[in-house]
Subunit: 311 residues, 2 copies
C-alpha cells in the first residue's frame, strides 16, 4: 500500500511552499487540476489530511508540516543518490570541495598542499557557492565535502571542528566607531548590514537555527542581496554599511579605508569540515584527516580535546 513516489513529494512540497495550487502548478509546469488530484491521492494513500483548503486559503495541517520537512530531506537524498552515482561513474574521479570563497580560515592552501601528498588523494575540484549553500551541496551530492561555518544544518552530514577565530567588524576607517579598539553589539544599533555577506551575522545573532542566519533588520536600506566582495568593500569604505568577516579573511583584504575591529560580545566563527554521513570514500576520509591535522598544527598550542572523528 504505502509506497510514495518522488513525484508525489515534489508536488506536495511545491503546494506546501506556495500554499496555492495554481502557483504551485505553474511552478511545476503543469495544470492545476491534476495537481489537486495528485495531492488528494497522496492524502488518501497516507490516510492523513495534509492541507486544509478553502477556496481562499490553503494551510498545512500538523501532518503536512511534518511531511514538508521530511519530504525535503527525502528529495535531497534521492537527487543525492543520483548525483553521487553519476560522479562515481566519471572516468577520472575527483574530490569536490564546497566552500565559500575566502571562508577557509586561511587554511585552504596548506590543506590542499598536505592533501596532495596523501595516498588516497584525488584532484580537488572547488565547488564555490554562497554562504549557507555548502551543506546543501554536500547533502544533494554536488560536493563530496565542504568547509563551512558552524552552526549549519547538519542533517545527513558528519562534521569535524577545525578552527575558531573571531569575527571582525568591517567599517569605514573614518567612522567614529573605528577610533575604538573594540566594540560591542549594542554599538551597532541602526547600522546597515548587507544581506548575504560572506559571514552574514546580523543582529539575529541570538538565533542558532539550522538554516543560515539571515539579517532581518528593517533598517538595512542598501546593498540587499549582494555577495560580491568588492562591492561590499566599496560600500563599507563609503560608510554605507558595516559587515562581519572572519579574522582570517580580513587579513587577505587589508585596505587603508577599512578598519577591522573585534566585537567583544559576538561569538566567534567556527570553521568545520563536513561530509556525507556514513561516507565510505577513502578520498573524503583522507581529506578530513588532512584538514583536521592542518587545523591542529595551526591552532595556538592549546591541548584541547581532539574529539575523534565519528567516521
Amino acid at each position: 500500500m504505502n509506497d510514495l513516489e518522488t513525484r508525489q513529494l515534489r508536488y506536495f512540497v511545491a503546494v506546501a511552499e506556495e500554499l496555492h495550487f495554481g502557483r504551485a502548478a505553474e511552478r511545476l509546469d503543469m495544470a492545476q487540476p491534476p495537481l489537486s488530484r495528485a495531492i488528494r491521492e497522496l492524502e488518501r494513500q497516507l490516510g492523513v489530511a495534509l492541507l486544509r483548503r478553502t477556496t481562499r486559503r490553503v494551510t498545512l495541517t500538523p501532518a503536512g508540516e511534518v511531511l514538508l520537512r521530511d519530504a525535503r530531506t527525502a528529495l535531497d537524498a534521492v537527487s543525492s543518490a543520483g548525483r553521487r552515482a553519476q560522479h562515481a561513474g566519471e572516468p577520472t574521479p575527483r574530490l569536490r570541495l564546497a566552500l565559500k570563497p575566502d571562508v577557509d580560515g586561511g587554511l585552504l592552501p596548506r590543506i590542499l598542499d598536505a592533501y596532495a601528498g596523501e595516498d588516497a588523494a584525488l584532484p580537488v575540484d572547488l565547488v564555490l557557492g554562497r554562504v549557507g549553500e555548502q551543506a546543501q551541496a554536500v547533502r544533494d551530492g554536488r560536493a563530496d565535502t565542504a568547509l563551512l561555518l558552524s552552526p549549519f544544518d547538519d542533517r545527513g552530514l558528519d562534521s569535524e571542528h577545525l578552527i575558531t577565530e573571531p569575527f571582525l567588524l568591517a567599517l569605514a576607517a573614518a567612522d567614529p566607531l573605528a577610533a575604538r579598539p573594540s566594540l560591542r553589539l549594542a554599538d551597532l544599533a541602526g547600522l546597515s548590514l548587507p544581506d548575504g555577506s560572506p559571514a552574514d551575522r546580523g543582529p539575529g545573532i541570538g538565533r542558532h537555527g539550522r538554516t543560515g542566519p539571515r539579517g532581518d533588520m528593517a533598517t538595512a536600506s542598501t546593498a540587499q542581496g549582494t555577495s560580491d566582495l568588492p562591492e561590499i568593500f566599496q560600500l563599507v569604505e563609503l560608510g554605507s554599511v558595516v559587515c562581519f568577516f572572519p579574522a582570517s579573511l580580513t587579513r587577505r583584504y587589508p585596505r587603508p579605508e577599512i578598519a577591522y575591529r573585534p566585537v567583544d560580545d559576538l561569538e566567534p566563527a567556527a570553521l568545520a569540515v563536513a561530509w556525507p554521513q556514513g561516507s565510505r570514500s577513502a578520498a573524503v576520509a583522507a581529506f578530513v584527516r588532512t584538514a583536521t591535522a592542518v587545523a591542529a598544527a595551526t591552532r595556538p598550542r592549546s591541548r584541547e580535546t581532539p574529539r575523534t572523528a565519528t567516521a
Copy 2:
C-alpha cells in the same frame, strides 16, 4: 533531465541485491523484460553504467555500488517521510520508542516514570524488535526514538550516550569455565554462540561495522537464528551454547543453572538513545533529556563531561 523516481531506485536495489534480473523481477512481482528496460533507462538518465551484465553473471560497477548504498538511504528517507506524516496525523499523538526487550540498562522503568512527569510528554508506545532493528525503525519512521547498543548504524540519526555496562558471558553453571571468576575471549574458542541473541557479540568482536554484527562461526551447530530468550537460557543451561548479555539484563534473569562471568577483554555495552537527525519534536526532545538525566543519576558518581544534546 535528472529526476529519479523511487520506483527506479527500488528496481535498481532489487537487481543490485540479487545480481540477477530474473530473481529481482520475481521479488518485485513483475516480469523480467520491463525490469531490464527500466534499469537500462536509469543508466541512460544518469549517463553511467551501473551493472556489468553477461548472460551468466551480473556485477556492480563502482557507480552501481555507490548508488546501491545511497539508494537504500534515499528509499529509507522517502518511506520515513510517509510514515512520519501518517503518525503525525493520528488523532492522539504518541511517542514510539524502539528497543530490544530487556536491553535498556535497567533504566526503562525509571525513564518512563520520569518522562511521564514532563510537560511535553506523550503516551509511550514500545516498538519491540530484534537487536539491530532499532536504528532502522527510527530511520524509516516506524519509531520516534530508540534505546540501542553502540556502535550502530547512525546514518540519519542523532544520538546521546546513556550508560556503559559490561557484557557478561552466560554459560552453564556446570561448565568448568564457570569455576573461574572471570574469563578472556581466548577461553571461548570453539564454543557456540547463538545467532541473533539479545547482545550478539560473537568472535567477530573486532568488527565495528555499522550493520549489526553477526556471528559467523561455522562451528555453531544449533540455535541458529533464535532470539527467544527462554530458548537461549535453556540451551545455555544444557551447555549447548554460551551467550553475551549486558550486565543489567543478567540481573533480571538470575538462574541457578546459569553462571554469568565477566570477560576481561570484551569491550562493554554502551547504551544510547537515538532520534531522527534534526527532529523538531518537543516530545522526543523531552524523552532524550529525561533519558540522559536518569542515566546520569544512575551512573556511579563520575563527574564526566555531559556532552550536551545537539537537538
